[in-house]
């Protein structure tokens, strides 16, 4: 077997293992789907009338909300990836793999791919739920695919960072603390629920730097009647760069893990 094939094979074996874990936890799957449905319903009704303020690019709030919920869900499920890593560390599974010939890259990639697959699945379901609720997607299938890609990238960024944190701090409390602290600001300092035109100026400026918002901008731009591809490319490029950096960082954390093991 040559090195390249072997490396690909390792990536596949490790990913397969991770996917099986997800499939075998029906409770987790259900939660992953019920939660966005609830958000879609609650926020959809709560903010129904804000669309009348204008600047949403649509007259139906649900049209505007769906990409927001897709990205928000990607964020909120990926942020907890570190918990899984922590469990693997505590159980000794990670250590077992680290003494086999499997590459560190394959171990990390498996997390990223698994996370990507779940995020994509979750996103598709939300899009379908939105459609059932009467949402309109003028950008068609292309727009939706771009939205899902953006949410997968965002999930990869936060999943990788969460994994890195799990390996470095090795405390559930820290992950819980950081996540609870970040989740709401990251969501509300974005255009998830509110059109940028209706946001206070300082919030808009912060949102411009918020990767969560980038994912929403990418999705919404691509899903519009008349997509702004420039915006999709620039913000999408930003997400891609962050993904590469986050995954690289989390693979690097194996080294510091090795010092503390």
């Amino acid at each position: 077997m040559n090195t390249m094939t072997e490396s690909l094979a390792q990536n596949w074996f490790m990913t397969q293992r991770q996917l099986k874990v997800i499939v075998r936890q029906p409770a987790y799957l259900v939660m992953m789907l019920v939660q966005p449905a609830i958000w879609l319903f609650l926020f959809g009704n709560l903010f129904k009338k804000v669309v009348e303020l204008g600047g949403f690019g649509t007259t139906t709030y649900l049209d505007y909300l769906v990409p927001g919920i897709v990205v928000m869900s990607a964020l909120s499920s990926s942020m907890w990836a570190g918990m899984g890593t922590l469990e693997e560390i505590e159980r000794g599974t990670l250590n077992r793999f680290l003494t086999t010939p499997v590459s560190r890259g394959a171990l990390m990639n498996a997390n990223v791919v698994q996370n990507g697959v779940s995020t994509a699945l979750q996103s598709v379901i939300i899009v379908l739920l939105g459609k059932l609720g009467g949402a309109d997607y003028p950008g068609g299938i292309t727009g939706l695919v771009v939205l899902i890609l953006a949410s997968v990238l965002l999930g990869a960024i936060f999943g990788a960072l969460s994994n890195a944190m799990g390996m470095l701090v090795r405390q559930r409390e820290s992950i819980i603390g950081v996540n609870t602290f970040l989740m709401l600001p990251l969501t509300f300092l974005s255009t998830a629920f509110m059109a940028p035109a209706q946001m206070p100026g300082w919030m808009q400026s912060i949102a411009d730097w918020n990767p969560v918002n980038w994912a929403m901008v990418v999705g919404r731009s691509a899903m519009a009647d008349n997509p702004d591809w420039g915006l999709v490319l620039s913000r999408g490029g930003g997400l891609l760069v962050l993904t590469v950096v986050a995954v690289w960082l989390s693979t690097r954390t194996f080294r510091s893990y090795q010092k503390s093991v």
């Binding site: 077997m1 040559n2 090195t3 072997e6 490396s7 094979a9 390792q10 074996f13 293992r17 099986k20 874990v21 075998r24 936890q25 505590e90 159980r91 000794g92 599974t93 250590n95 077992r96 793999f97 680290l98 003494t99 086999t100 010939p101 499997v102 590459s103 890259g105 090795q258 010092k259 503390s260 093991v261």
Partner: protein, 348 residues
């Protein structure tokens, strides 16, 4: 990415399978885990690393199995430098860590299959090997079920099977029987003894059960505070302690330990006297016959005796002699008392 080849070079004939030289390791928070750990394991033998909790056994295993890196020192495993070529070492070793490490959501079979694949086993070779191991470790039925439902003994057997999938040259077993009930422990001992009989397999075993080391290992190194304090065959270690051990417990702390020591050491047949607070250990010829004289001598010196026991030399005595404290005390000092330990060591 690592090369999948160029690693199967067998260790040079006659060269030790494992060699650690002056390993040191300090964990964050200034915890010294290893302070000059050196050991040599000859190919094809079972080597026991015996020591109380916190002695540094697992840290040694983690370094030798390429998981952790030492602060200084060097290590060779199966002919490869563990620090410079960890990837080569990984292909040559099997590791059964102190913590299980099996994936609880996967079945026993799936765990073994994945493990085999990571070492490059595929297709019928893999299936055959997995079947063989499930059979051998009495997991043929259980192999179809998720590991999370396994008993402690089943899980440990799976752990050992995982370590053997790729037919390693050297197998590391870190406390393979800790936490098992006596029945499962005996079964595991039989299994390890059988493995040791397998052609060419070298085993480095760590344990804090004196009995386990005595029973399984051809050579034992006693570890205390991050280094080896004494090494040899179990018989040689015990043989170094001439005669029997008489353990005496005083009613009150000795007034003047030196006076007591002198009084006891002057008796015929007494080789060695150790006084530790209220506890006195005397090494003497024919312990049972010596007790009256010992009691009388203590009486004369003004020390009242609460209890006296005579024991054949055990590894506990070896430990006491070389580490300067009792096994059970060393454990207590690390704040993780193991009641079984006392009986395991004192049973002989």
């Amino acid at each position: 990415m690592q090369s999948s080849q160029g690693s199967a070079l067998p260790a040079r004939a006659g060269a030790p399978a494992v060699q650690a030289h002056e390993l040191t390791k300090t964990y964050p928070g200034d915890v010294t885990a290893l302070s000059g750990m050196s050991l040599t394991v000859e190919a094809g033998t079972v080597f026991g690393l015996l020591g109380p909790n916190g002695a540094g056994k697992s840290t040694t295993v983690k370094i030798l199995t390429t998981l952790a890196r030492p602060d200084s020192g060097s290590a060779t495993v199966a002919g490869h430098d563990a620090l410079r070529h960890p990837d080569r070492v990984r292909r040559a070793i099997g590791v059964v860590a102190q913590k299980s490490g099996a994936d609880p959501m996967a079945t026993g079979r799936e765990n073994l299959q994945l493990q085999g694949r990571l070492y490059g086993l595929r297709g019928t070779d893999l299936t055959r090997r997995v079947d063989e191991l499930l059979e051998r470790f009495d997991l043929a039925e259980a192999g179809k079920r998720q590991v999370k439902g396994y008993s402690g003994g089943m899980q440990r057997r799976l752990d050992v099977a995982l370590g053997l999938v790729h037919r390693p040259e050297v197998l590391f077993l870190d406390e393979p029987t800790t936490g098992l009930d006596p029945e499962a422990r005996t079964a595991m001992w039989d299994e390890i003894a059988r493995l040791a009989g397998d052609e060419g397999l070298t085993i480095l075993l760590t344990t804090h059960y004196l009995e386990e080391a005595d029973r399984l290992a051809e050579r034992i190194a006693i570890v205390d505070r991050g280094r080896v304090v004494v090494e040899g065959t179990p018989d040689a270690l015990k043989g170094e302690l001439r005669g029997d051990a008489v353990h005496l417990e005083l009613r009150a702390q000795a007034q003047d330990a030196d006076v007591l020591r002198a009084a006891l050491a002057a008796l015929p047949g007494v080789h060695e006297v150790l006084i530790d607070g209220r506890r006195i250990s005397v090494r003497t010829e024919d312990g049972a016959a010596a007790v009256p004289a010992l009691l009388a001598a203590l009486e004369r010196a003004g020390a009242a005796v609460a209890a006296a026991t005579v024991a054949r030399p055990s590894l506990d005595d070896v430990y006491l002699r070389y580490a300067g404290r009792r096994f059970s005390e060393a454990e207590a000092a690390h704040d993780t008392p193991h009641a079984e330990l006392v009986t395991a060591g004192g049973a002989r």
